[in-house]
Amino acid sequence: MNVTSINARLMQGNQACAEGAIYAGARFYAGYPITPSTEIAEVLAERLPQVGGKFIQMEDEIASMAAIVGASLTGAKSMTATSGPGFSLKQENLGYAVLSEVPCVVVDVQRLGPSTGGPTAPSQGDIMQARWGTHGDHPIIAISPSSVQECFELTVKAFNLSERFRIPVLMMLDEVIGHMRERIIIPAPGELEIVDRKKPKVAPSQYVPYEPQDDSLVPPMANFGEGYRYHVTGLLHDDTGFPSNSPAVMGEHQDRLHEKIRRGLHEIIMVEEVQTEDADVLLVAFGCMARSAARAVKEARAKGQKVGMLRLITIWPFPEEALRQLAEKVKAIIVPEMNLGQVVDVVKSAVEGKVPVYGICQADGEIIPPERILEKIEEVL
């Protein structure tokens, strides 16, 4: 018997996400079961106590989201996971985390349809909700893994970004990626970078909790219980953390929330380019659809068609720059996505008419097969 990679294992995407969280230092999980995300909770219920962490099944998704924010304020890296219906319920408190700048990671394993929809059927239908699901203006970071290995590594990255920018980071899995099992190599401890929130350097009496100390505009964050007594609120507030009705203060607060992310774009944006150098047709894909698109690229190239792919790893903020540069070069863009048209409109808005943009939009619980993409390529070439 020929056992080659002893570190290689077969692992499910959801499990890899859970293990990635532990690797990243997550020590708190609160959740409420929902297909197709439940395995994340189940793995962490078992694993967290083994590393001294806490797992709690809350009464619902609203409470779960609240609990991870509370936990994070004590310094615990915290996570919750859910799917569409639960993601909708978490929106209010997700907005709280954005406004009060509490790091945490929220996993949404996307399933089909609005409402209960098709609970076991895959989809990529929550992409726009990830951006706009909570009320009011707010920035967000959302990441989409395309393999089990990435479920692990991007979860680590999600925690890093969350701690770095004091913002909830969304891991937008889809049912295909969450439930499929494939080969993964678990990185050794220390192999991946781990980022922790910046702590205040001043004495408690000097601490102004929401006052940025550098150009990043991300204020250092004290944990509850460390002697820095401060106030956290979901009201718009000034740098001291106390609410204000002043338009100047409220406007500044909202602007800074966005601006800190804008300034961090170079750290946040992740894309992968596949054979884009000479591409005439660019596929823009993410999540499980990037796998189908990758196959399409391969088969199209085999036929001599110049096709490339821009894989969106970061979905929000949207990788506009990378896309715009490619839009200068290609003749057409095709966006295959498992929904009825979400990212395709964002792509359109970003390329501003420079090249024609086509969607392949399908929301029936099936992954869009390479064949359909290949057909479209034929059509636009």
């Binding site: 106590p49 083994q50 001294g52 806490k54 615990a76 509850f224 106390f242």
Partner: protein
Amino acid sequence: MFAEIEQYFRTERLPHIWCPGCTNGIIVKSIVEAIQKAGLDQDKTVIVSGIGCSSRATGYLNFNTLHTTHGRALAFASGVKLANPELNVFVITGDGDCTSIGGNHFIHSARRNMDLNVILFNNNIYGMTGGQYSPMSPSGAKATTAPYGNIERPFDICNLAIAAGATYVARGNSFNTRQLTDIIYNGIANKGFSFVEAIASCPVYYGRKNKLGNAADMLKWQRDNCITKEAADRLPLEKKQGKVVTGILHHEPAPEYTTEYQKIIDKFQGGEES
């Protein structure tokens, strides 16, 4: 008293936003006195609130304070406490915040018996939004959304807490501040979910809508209509009719959530398989 105020309040933020004669301020002082009596470290104490007039209290208190979303204070607080059980965690909430939108978190927190100290400011109305009826508005009461009188029956929230599993349940009011401080203090001593209903008055909305007189009149109503459990136990039924019973109504310790969780960690930490 000014010295204690200086120590426990963010005096630079006073006077608070509450209306003249609102008794929220009185109840907050009792909380602070109970904390002082219990000798809790301010740095190790977290006070969590929801949204409502009463929930604005956290902004004035010199602790780690967390003003959350409407109804969710207990869920946030559960995260704080479980993540770091060394922290003393208090929850300040209103009758709407706790029993209406937050009712589910309330019964589940009581059931789990996490070591949280909850003080419900019961003014029988949604104050912050301007006087709508709450699940604790008496039947027949007037409110902006009950112009013809409330046809719902109010919760006996202490009973509900007991049925849901709370291990310590007490009721006080903003007139009898000594009792209120005492029952909060005793709740702190209970290792588990401790619940105190504090009867408050909202002269501006509840009082005005229901013609209950001015702020002082409403406080006097509390004085004249509450009897302690000890007194009630001695009285014949007919004399208790219509009276509100205060004091410690229930105390029955049970295993505390974070303690039980720690046992699991102690047993399985480092292990790979269960």
